[in-house]
């Protein structure tokens, strides 16, 4: 197919997602200067980061437009692996209290 009129506004249809991603980033920078506790700030920033990653994954990487089987094969397993990594936190908090061998 030769150059078509469609390619004149290829970017326009992605602009809403682009601006949402920029807005989320701006909110993250704003929140970082507010008086949250460290743990609270990390939780809020992580939720926003996961939200923006999901938008990027579904719309910029077009996963929303692929067959659902691709999504189901890739994403749940990845989330499961990342969730399993959460087992480290109790040990890092124990180290904070300098009780590396405490039960």
């Amino acid at each position: 197919m030769s150059a078509s009129g469609k390619s004149g506004n290829v970017i326009a249809k992605y602009l809403p997602v682009y601006f949402v991603l920029l807005a989320i980033a701006a909110i993250e920078f704003f929140l970082a200067y507010q008086n949250f506790s460290k743990a609270g700030l990390v939780r809020i920033l992580l939720v926003l980061a996961i939200g923006s990653a999901a938008l990027g994954l579904m719309y910029f990487m077009h996963l929303a437009h692929e067959k659902r089987s691709l999504f189901l094969s890739l994403i749940p397993a990845t989330i499961f692996v990342l969730l399993m990594l959460n087992m480290i936190w109790s040990d890092s908090i124990r180290l904070l209290h300098m009780r590396p061998f405490a039960h």
Binding site: M1, A3, S4, L21, A25, G56, M61
Partner: protein, 203 residues
């Protein structure tokens, strides 16, 4: 012809199953790479979190100038994802000149990002923070260094794809597959910024 003969000859069409996901194998391969790389970055960020939580006197070196620099880097990288989408769509529409222009913009934005990144590093060097200067330096430069390496590899990949797409030896499908990688690099940055920079602002 027997099945084994057909396999020896490079898989006869009759034996080939259709893709279970209705996507080309190169795209599926890129998705599998992205998933494995996501877990790699995930593990590194978890390791960073472990050190961060377990270290009471963690350094918080990022001043306003650093944060403005990081905000600019974020803007540049998200914008480069937009131009990459333009390249993919223009190539699918058969508009090769426009696709190449968008690919060029994406490469330039990637190089700007890398330049700002290196400027950020030199700012930390001037504060005495290096890879060898303790847990913070090791964690920070490992994570951001791995991400910067991905960006630079992405710029080189885009240059190669643009050149070969221009000469006709690569297809819009190759542009799309490279785009997946570029968007993934953008996605990783969305986690690096809050976890590595925004929770370590100098007060």
């Amino acid at each position: 012809m027997s099945e084994s003969e057909m396999a020896m000859l490079g898989h006869g069409g009759m034996l080939m199953e259709g893709s279970p996901y209705s996507i080309p194998s190169r795209k599926l391969t890129m998705w599998l790479f992205i998933i494995s790389d996501a877990v790699t970055f995930g593990a590194i960020l978890f390791a960073y979190g472990y050190l961060r939580v377990a270290t009471p006197d963690w350094q918080t070196p990022f001043n306003s100038a650093s944060i403005i620099n990081v905000a600019t880097m974020t803007f540049v990288l998200i914008t480069s994802s937009l131009t990459m989408l333009g390249a993919v769509d223009a190539s699918k529409d058969g508009d090769k000149p426009k696709a190449l222009r968008f690919l060029g913009c994406t490469m330039v934005l990637g190089l700007i990002f890398a330049g700002l990144h290196i400027r950020e590093w030199f700012g930390l060097f001037n504060q005495g923070i290096k890879l060898s200067s303790g847990l913070f330096g090791q964690a920070f430069f490992s994570i951001t260094g791995l991400h910067l390496l991905h960006v630079l590899i992405g710029v080189v990949a885009l240059a190669v794809v643009a050149r070969k797409y221009s000469s006709g030896s690569l297809t819009p499908g190759h542009v799309e597959t490279t785009g997946l990688y570029w968007h993934f690099v953008d996605l990783v940055w969305m986690f690096v910024v809050p976890l590595v920079y925004l929770t370590n602002i100098a007060r």
